[in-house]
């Protein structure tokens, strides 16, 4: 029996279908979860997908953070449930204080959609085990408020504890401090990522030349879960 990975749909979620597809392609069972349901239905891991939950009004993720499902997700994540927040999902994780820092308006002031080169900095998280440290990948990036900010102490700590999961290469598309594209919590089970690995999982639809570079985020967690005998 393979692992069951849930994908939460908030009002305004957009990449939930893509995340479900990616989970399925990775070999896990994809389980749709609903924002207004105080129940994780026994899933082994959760993806908070990209999109504009509640229109991104006020602050991205600020309203979604109060959804019923978060009332059960936050404690579960604190107890070690693997959680991947992509783009808007990353913003929700920061607003919920599962991850430090915040995401602010791109320094360009424009929404940007591009094929983004990244360097994987840490493979000791639940979601990056299948990559190699220093490996370079290209996945789509698309955000209007993707600038990662935190105070210097927090940034230093993230670096020192190896919690910077991925960094932007060539172009820093949104003004993120220290080119940070993704981070994890101390335990490594919770990862927030601004770029979109779920859009790089198929030869037909992924970025030219790097069509499936994103798939291993999903196989990583599957391997860990099954390995752990889930």
């Amino acid at each position: 029996m393979t692992a069951r990975i849930g994908v939460v749909t908030f009002p305004g979620s957009l990449d939930d279908g893509d995340a479900l597809r990616a989970v399925g392609l990775s070999g896990a069972e994809a389980v749709p979860l609903w924002h207004d349901d105080r129940d994780l239905h026994g899933v082994d891991a959760v993806v908070l997908p990209g999109g504009f939950s509640y229109g991104d009004y006020l602050r991205c993720g600020a309203i979604a953070r109060f959804a019923k499902v978060m009332e059960v997700l936050v404690p579960a994540a604190t107890d070690g449930l693997p959680v991947l927040g992509i783009c808007n999902g990353f913003q929700v994780l920061c607003e919920s204080h599962l991850l430090p820092g915040a995401l602010v308006r791109n320094d360009s002031l424009h929404f940007v959609c591009r094929d983004q080169r990244l360097r994987i900095e840490s493979t000791s998280t639940a979601w990056t085990g299948a990559y190699a440290v220093g490996e370079e990948i290209v996945v789509p990036l698309k955000n209007g408020e993707g600038g990662y900010v935190a105070d210097e102490r927090t940034l230093d700590a993230l670096e020192a504890e190896g919690r910077v999961v991925a960094r932007y290469l060539e172009v820093n598309p949104n003004g993120s401090r220290r080119d940070i594209a993704g981070i994890s919590n101390a335990a490594g089970n919770v990862v927030g990522l601004m770029p979109h690995p779920e859009h790089a999982v198929e030869t037909l639809t992924g970025p030219a030349g790097h069509e499936t570079d994103g798939l291993r985020f999903f196989t990583s967690v599957l391997r860990q879960l099954v390995g752990a005998g889930a």
């Binding site: 509640y54 229109g55 009004y57 006020l58 309203i63 109060f66 959804a67």
Partner: protein, 90 residues
């Protein structure tokens, strides 16, 4: 050194989707009795010179070219009242 503030709000008759989304979210936080929420911009400008009427005038001169969109927004210009922050409770 003068600190001038421009408060920019959508005209009352213009839809404010952002404010509506917040108003709708409040009950979930157990907040009741909120009739309406409108969200606009607060623009703080630091100018050289005195914080006098002239300073306000200088800002007024470019406010509706750059700070507000007169088609959908109204604005108020006033000198900054240096009230200190309420929060976050440090």
């Amino acid at each position: 050194m003068a600190r001038v503030v421009v408060d920019v709000m959508l005209k009352p008759e213009i839809l404010d989707p952002q404010g509506q989304a917040v108003a709708r979210a409040l009950p979930a936080l157990g907040v009741s009795g909120v009739r309406d929420v409108r969200i606009g911009k607060r623009i703080e400008i630091e100018l050289e010179g005195e914080a006098d009427e002239a300073a306000l005038e200088r800002v007024r001169a470019f406010a509706d070219q750059l700070l507000a969109n007169p088609v959908i927004e109204d604005y108020v210009i006033h000198a900054a009242d240096d009230s200190t922050s309420d929060g976050p409770a440090a």
